[in-house]
């Protein structure tokens, strides 16, 4: 499995993607949605204090603003993900470019996805600090692989933003 990452004038270009990685990328906004997982929702929308009354206010006033921001970022990423390019007739050579003006939205949605998956599957610190699963046999293994792959994409974006 190979993914080639290069910086272009317009953004970050990923090439030599096979269909597995194309699908992993298409899953980014899907994985970012906490859905029916209370653990994921609590992680994406935390409270701010130990005071119950203050937290009710936080849920009432801050969470809707966060939700709007996260939904807008997710929408941007979904639109970008419509632009995969098949470079030849094989299925092993797809390319995709993350536009430079959308790096912040991508960082945000990749983070939502990683945090949602980690909360949903209760990944331990040890699993997060390793390089990902050696084999993928279960949905949980695949989700851990996603978390590591999305972390790799975040690192590429962060390196670019750091100059």
């Amino acid at each position: 499995m190979t993914v080639e990452v290069t910086r272009t004038d317009d953004g970050l270009r990923l090439a030599r993607l096979d269909l597995f990685f194309v699908e992993l990328m298409r899953q980014i906004p899907v994985s970012a949605d906490p859905g029916d997982s209370d653990a994921a929702r609590d992680r994406i929308y935390p409270v701010a204090t130990a005071d119950a009354e203050a937290n009710e206010d936080w849920r009432a006033y801050v969470h809707p603003e966060l939700k709007e921001y996260f939904t807008t970022s997710s929408g941007t990423v979904r639109e970008d993900l419509e632009n995969f390019e098949q470079l030849d007739e094989t299925t092993e050579n797809w390319a995709f470019e993350i536009p430079a003006e959308h790096f912040d939205q991508w960082l945000n949605v990749l983070n939502q996805a990683r945090l949602s998956l980690a909360a949903r599957y209760d990944f331990e610190e040890k699993e997060m600090s390793q390089n990902g699963p050696r084999t993928i046999e279960t949905v949980r293994d695949l989700s851990l692989f996603q978390v590591h792959f999305y972390g790799f994409l975040q690192e590429c974006l962060l390196q670019d933003l750091a100059g």
Binding site: Y45, P46, V62, N111, L158
Partner: protein, 95 residues
């Protein structure tokens, strides 16, 4: 938890005698990347890379870092910004 000295950021010029100071605390989680957390501290608080990195390491090694102390309204605004970046941040009354 490590034994490193806690780094406390103070903004005494905006606090009055009647204001109870509040700490903005960032807690460790195993998911957020260290480089990402450093970038967020630089962006939200305008910290230098070295200062941001010190706080990031404190979060990573000691489980939490007080990243700002001051009056409640800006403290709440900082926590909201940190939540938008998906960091685990809370408000605590300063001792």
């Amino acid at each position: 938890m490590g034994n490193g000295e806690t780094i406390v950021e103070k903004e005494s010029s905006t606090a009055t005698a009647l204001d109870i100071p509040w700490n903005v605390v960032v807690h460790n989680d195993p998911v957020n990347l260290m480089t990402y957390v450093t970038m967020v501290f630089q962006r939200v608080f305008g910290y230098s890379k070295d200062r941001a990195k010190k706080h990031m390491l404190e979060v990573h090694q000691q489980g939490r870092s007080i990243v700002w102390t001051g009056v409640r309204e800006p403290a709440e605004s900082y926590v909201e910004q940190l939540h938008a970046y998906l960091l685990l941040a809370t408000l605590e009354k300063a001792e």
